[in-house]
Symmetry: C2
Subunit: 311 residues, 2 copies
C-alpha cells in the first residue's frame, strides 16, 4: 500500500522496552494527534511483592509522559526508594528496583486487576493520570508470560532470567505460555493501520510475543511494515539481544540477522550507517541511535518519509 | 482462679487500637518472655489501593516494635509519604494516610493473602521482620468486617464511617459480618490463659468483635478477667467512643457504662482516679493515662498485682 498523504493517518507501533519507547516518543513528537497507536508487549509482565508489574507498558508510559530517565532504562527520573529501603530492612526481596512514584503505577494496576478490570482499561486510566494522550494498548488482556528455555534445558520466567540470573544462562529458545488472544482493540488497530512500525526492541522477547498472537502477523503482511534495527554495528544498543542472536540463531549478531528473523513481514528496514545489506526490500541507512529527543524525532520523520517511498 | 506466682504464666490481652497497643506495650515491658499473647481485633480491616489493611494489627505491631509515633495514633514515627504524594498527584483517593515504610506492611500482607497464606501466619512473619517477639494473633483468619448501623438506618463499613464520614453519623448499633470463627490459636490461647486483660480499647468496635467470636466469651467467663476503662473522667481517651456510648446506650459516657457493657465477664476493673463506682467486682482506682512508656509499665504492673488479689 502506498501512503498518499504527507502523514499516514493510522500508524501502529509494536514496541517493547527502552529502544521501543524512544522510537515511540519520536513518533509521538512527529505524528498528528489521533494517528498513533502503540501496541505493547506484556510477555515480560510478572508479579513482585504481590503486585502486577508490566515493565514494557511502564517504560512506554513514562517515556511518553516525559518521566523516564535519560540514561537508566526503567522507572521514573528522580524517584526515591523509601519503600524499597524499608522492604530491604525487613528482609524482603529487593532484586527488582521499585521506586516510590513508580510503585503507584503497580498498586493501581494491581488494584484494578483485583476488581476484574481489564489491563487495557487500566492502562487507559494510568495514561490519563500521567497526561499521556496517545493510545497505548497492551497486546493482550490475558496472561502471556515469556519463558526462556536455556541450552541446559531449564525453563525460566523472563524477568528471573534477565534480572536474577543476569541473563547468563545460554538461550536455546524463547516461547510464550497462556492464551494467544490479542485484544479486540489491538486487532482493530492493526486492521485500520496504514503503516506498521516495528520498533528497535528485542525481537525474541519484545516483538515476537506480539507477532505470535492470533491474527497479528496476517494483518502485518497486508500492511506497509517497516522495522528499525535494534542492532547497531553488530552490538545490541541495550540488553541481552546480541547474546540471544548468537545463542538462538548460531550466528553473529547483525542488523541483517534481525531482518532475516522478521522474514516475510517487512516492506522496509532502517539500519545504522554502515550496517546496510542486500535485501528483497528497501534498506534505509541512517542514524538509528536515539538517545536524545531530537534524534528520536529525526528518526521518526525519516522513517515515515521512507515508508511513503515504499509501495 | 487465684494467681499463685508473682507473675501469671499465660496472660492473654484483647486489644484494638492505640489504647490497647499502649497497655500491651506495658505488659510486654513487665511480663517474662513467653507469657503474653495478644489477640487483636480485625473487624477494622479493609481494602485500600487494592491492599489489605489491618489497622489494629499494625498499631500493635508498630507499638511493640518501638516504631509507633508518641502522639499520632497510626503509622510509623518519622515515616515519609512519597507514594501517597504521587497517588494524590494522579488523582487517586488519599483519604487514608499511608506512609512509605508503613506501606511495606500492607504490601507484604496482601502478597501473602494472595498466595493463600493465613493472616495468622503472615502476622507472625511481619512481627519477626519488625523484631517483635511477643505472640500477636489476629482474632480470625476469615473476613469479619465491622459495620456501623446509623440512626438513619444506613450501614457503613467502619473505616468509611470513621475516616470518610469523620464519625459524624449517629450510631444505632455496631454489628459484624462474615464468619464468627476464631482461629484455633486464639481459642487455645484463651483455653490456657490464667489471666485475660481487656485493654482500654473501644468496646463496640475493638473488643466486641473478639468477644462475639464463637467460644471466646465462654472461655473468658472461666478465667480471671480484668479490664481497663477506655473512658477517663467521662471522656474517651481517644476516638469516637464517648459519642458511641451516648448514641448506643442512650446514657452519659462513663467508666461504669463500659463496665456494664461487659456485664458478666469481668472479675475486676481498673478506672482512673475519681471514676470509681459500686460494682459486684473489685474496682481499682489508679492512673490509667498511659502516654509514656513509664506509665504503661506502671499500669501493667498494678494491673497484674490487682489480678493476683482477685480470687
Amino acid at each position: 500500500m502506498t501512503l498518499k498523504s504527507q502523514y499516514p493517518s493510522n500508524v501502529v507501533a509494536l514496541a517493547g522496552g527502552v529502544g521501543g519507547a524512544r522510537l515511540v516518543d519520536g513518533l509521538d513528537r512527529v505524528l498528528p494527534p489521533g494517528s498513533l497507536t502503540v501496541i505493547v508487549n506484556t510477555g515480560d509482565d510478572f508479579r513482585h511483592w504481590g503486585l502486577h508489574i508490566s515493565p514494557d507498558l511502564d517504560t512506554i508510559m513514562y517515556t511518553l509522559a516525559g518521566l523516564a530517565p535519560e540514561t537508566r532504562g526503567w522507572g521514573i527520573e528522580g524517584d526515591t526508594f523509601r519503600v524499597l529501603e524499608e522492604a530491604k530492612r525487613r528482609g524482603e526481596p529487593d532484586w527488582f528496583l521499585l521506586g516510590d512514584r513508580d510503585l503507584v503505577t503497580h498498586l493501581m494496576r494491581s488494584a484494578g486487576l483485583s476488581e476484574a478490570r481489564s489491563l487495557t482499561e487500566i492502562t487507559r486510566g494510568l495514561c490519563a493520570a500521567l497526561g499521556v494522550s496517545r493510545r497505548v494498548l497492551p497486546m493482550s488482556d490475558a496472561p502471556r508470560p515469556t519463558i526462556i528455555v536455556t541450552q541446559r534445558g531449564d525453563e525460566i520466567a523472563f524477568q528471573d532470567w534477565l534480572i536474577k540470573e543476569h541473563a547468563v544462562p545460554a538461550v536455546r529458545e524463547v516461547r510464550q505460555e497462556g492464551s494467544d488472544r490479542a485484544t479486540d482493540l489491538v486487532l482493530d488497530a492493526m486492521e485500520s493501520a496504514d503503516l506498521v512500525v516495528i520498533c528497535p526492541s528485542n525481537p525474541y522477547v519484545s516483538i515476537d510475543p506480539i507477532l505470535a498472537l492470533h491474527g497479528v502477523s496476517d494483518r502485518i503482511r497486508q500492511t506497509t511494515t517497516v522495522a528499525v534495527s535494534p542492532i547497531v554495528n553488530r552490538k545490541a544498543v541495550k540488553g541481552p539481544l546480541a547474546r540471544m542472536i548468537k545463542d538462538i540463531e548460531g550466528r553473529a549478531p547483525s542488523a541483517e540477522a534481525v531482518a532475516m528473523h522478521y522474514e516475510g513481514l517487512l516492506d522496509g528496514f532502517a539500519v545504522h550507517h554502515g550496517d546496510g545489506f542486500q535485501a528483497p526490500f528497501p534498506v534505509l541507512e541512517t542514524s538509528i541511535l536515539i538517545s536524545s529527543k531530537e534524534e528520536r524525532s529525526t528518526l521518526a520523520r525519516e522513517l515515515i518519509d521512507f515508508a511513503r517511498t515504499i509501495s
